[in-house]
């Protein structure tokens, strides 16, 4: 299994369209901290305080990293069929479920690593920015540890979601389009379409936000633990469906 995971990670390193979103997300993580700390104070914005640290860590590494890891693994997994590299992949390891498992492990590892790196960069940038504003740093305050754990965990789950979606649709453009449509359109209109505003909190984006930011006081979101379980469920369902389709479908045809 280790050699298969290594092969998947080598695919990532050698595919520019896959790692550029990750590099961009890390750069944005730093820029977001700089922008937040620079904007603090003037024009009615709240002044920086020690309590700003957890917010800086969450905001810089959260959804941007999740989205980048999702896009990266959609490109890699659906791209296997677009570029017909699936033929080489399954000639090297004919047990298709082992290949899918390797992809899922590699995606989760990538997400966790990029999430941790984003948090490390955010923490370093936050520390420098807060020090420059003579704001004392308090790493032990509530929310810091949660952000450092939640961001890599969410990114790992979004990596799994990306592999599942890519294997399920087997079409890079369709999978990317669906992911973007879901994030920017579909999840927002589902409550209106179903006339059930309470359904929102059970949807993936809302669940990810709940994990990152915790439950709202108005109880319109899930608790972090339940939201994590919900998101894990989505990842498991997509990964399972992708694995089942990959095990069943032919390889090397026009669609595979």
């Amino acid at each position: 299994m280790r050699s298969l995971v290594s092969a998947e990670l080598l695919k990532l390193r050698s595919t520019r369209s896959a790692w550029i979103p990750l590099a961009a997300a890390l750069a944005i993580a730093v820029i977001a901290v700089v922008a937040s700390t620079t904007a603090a104070g003037p024009d009615g914005n709240p002044h920086l305080s020690p309590a700003a640290l957890p917010g800086l860590l969450r905001a810089s590494g959260g959804q941007i990293v999740d989205g980048a890891v999702l896009l990266c693994w959609i490109v890699l997994s659906a791209g296997e069929f677009r570029h017909r590299t699936s033929v080489t992949t399954f000639l090297g390891e004919p047990n298709r479920l082992r290949v899918v498992s390797a992809k899922l492990i590699a995606a989760a590892l990538t997400g966790a690593a990029v999430g941790l790196l984003a948090e490390a960069l955010s923490a370093a940038t936050s520390a420098a920015a807060l020090s420059a504003h003579h704001v004392p740093l308090d790493w032990s305050q509530p929310g810091v540890l949660g952000a450092v754990v939640a961001v890599p965990l969410l990114a790992a789950l979004f990596g799994v979601l990306g592999v599942g979606l890519g294997l399920l649709l087997r079409n890079t453009a369709a999978a990317l389009g669906l992911a973007l449509m879901w994030a920017f359109v579909i999840e927002g209109i589902i409550p209106a379409l179903t006339h059930q505003p309470g359904t929102t909190r059970w949807l993936p984006e809302a669940a990810a936000n709940a994990v990152l930011h915790g439950a709202s006081p108005a109880a319109t979101t899930l608790s972090a633990g339940v939201a994590l379980a919900v998101l894990t469920g989505y990842a498991a369902v997509l990964a399972g469906a992708g694995a089942a389709l990959t095990a069943r479908k032919e390889i090397g045809t026009a669609t595979g």
Binding site: S3, L10, T85, I251
Partner: protein, 251 residues
């Protein structure tokens, strides 16, 4: 010594029977040409053999096992199914290193096969910029990565220039001389006639002939492989005339 055995292999796509009760066995140390008109089922048979597609019935085995049950398949069988199976954004070297990882084949072997197929100096370039012939050589390099006992090559000469075809002929002969089983499909009948020891000919998914080249010509009285092929695969030819099959086993 490695053997390929195909027994009662049948594959259907909807109402179309692409491979119909196909049975043959290949001998080690020989080059076997796999011939048939377009749509005869050659590529489908090879994909069934390599576990990329599943048969409706029958089985195809390598050393007695289906491809899906082989341990370290790249070290037992090398396959060239399609030259366009490489990510256009990856270098030839990266593509082969990725292919080599599952079998724990060292990078040194990647360099060896790149040099063997004449891509050593172009290995750093992206595969998307390769000519058709270069992609064919890269696919051949991937097939050779594990130094396998058996080679399954679908149209390996496609896209190669005359020098490349000459080089390929020598390479295949050398591999067979080492005792390897070489199974190669081609439309280039004249070229194939110079290269192969045995032939398996199919038409409309069914076996037409499985024999040695010399045996086939002697038995049928045909003046050449092309002469026999055109007669046996014409639209009004009877499918699977047993007269043409000395034995389904070429062993």
């Amino acid at each position: 010594m490695s053997t390929i055995a195909v027994e009662g292999l049948t594959k259907r796509y909807g109402t179309v029977t692409a491979v119909d009760d196909l049975t043959f066995e290949l001998a080690p140390g020989r080059i076997t040409g796999f011939l048939g008109p377009n749509g005869a089922g050659k590529s489908t048979t090879m994909r069934l053999l390599l576990g990329l597609a599943r048969p409706a019935s029958g089985r195809a085995t390598i050393n007695g096992r289906p491809y899906s049950e082989l341990r370290d398949p790249l070290r037992q069988i090398g396959a060239l199914i399609d030259p366009n199976v490489f990510h256009p954004g990856r270098s030839g070297r990266a593509a082969l290193r990725i292919a080599a990882r599952p079998a724990r084949i060292p990078d040194q072997r990647v360099e060896e096969v790149l040099n063997l197929v004449g891509l050593g100096s172009a290995a750093h370039r992206r595969a998307g910029g390769y000519s058709q012939g270069m992609r064919q050589r890269l696919a051949l390099a991937a097939a050779l990565l594990g130094d396998p006992e058996t080679l399954v090559l679908d149209e390996p000469a496609s896209g190669l220039d005359p020098e490349g075809v000459h080089w390929l002929r020598g390479l295949l002969r050398g591999l067979a001389t080492e005792g390897r089983t070489v199974f190669v499909s081609s439309h280039l009948l004249a070229e194939l006639a110079q290269t192969v020891d045995d032939v398996v000919i199919i038409n409309r998914g069914r076996l037409v002939a499985a024999d040695s080249m010399a045996g086939l010509l002697e038995r049928t009285g045909a003046s050449s492989l092309e002469d026999f092929f055109l007669g046996a695969t014409s639209p009004d030819a009877r499918p699977a005339d047993p007269t043409f099959s000395r034995s389904r086993s070429l062993s």
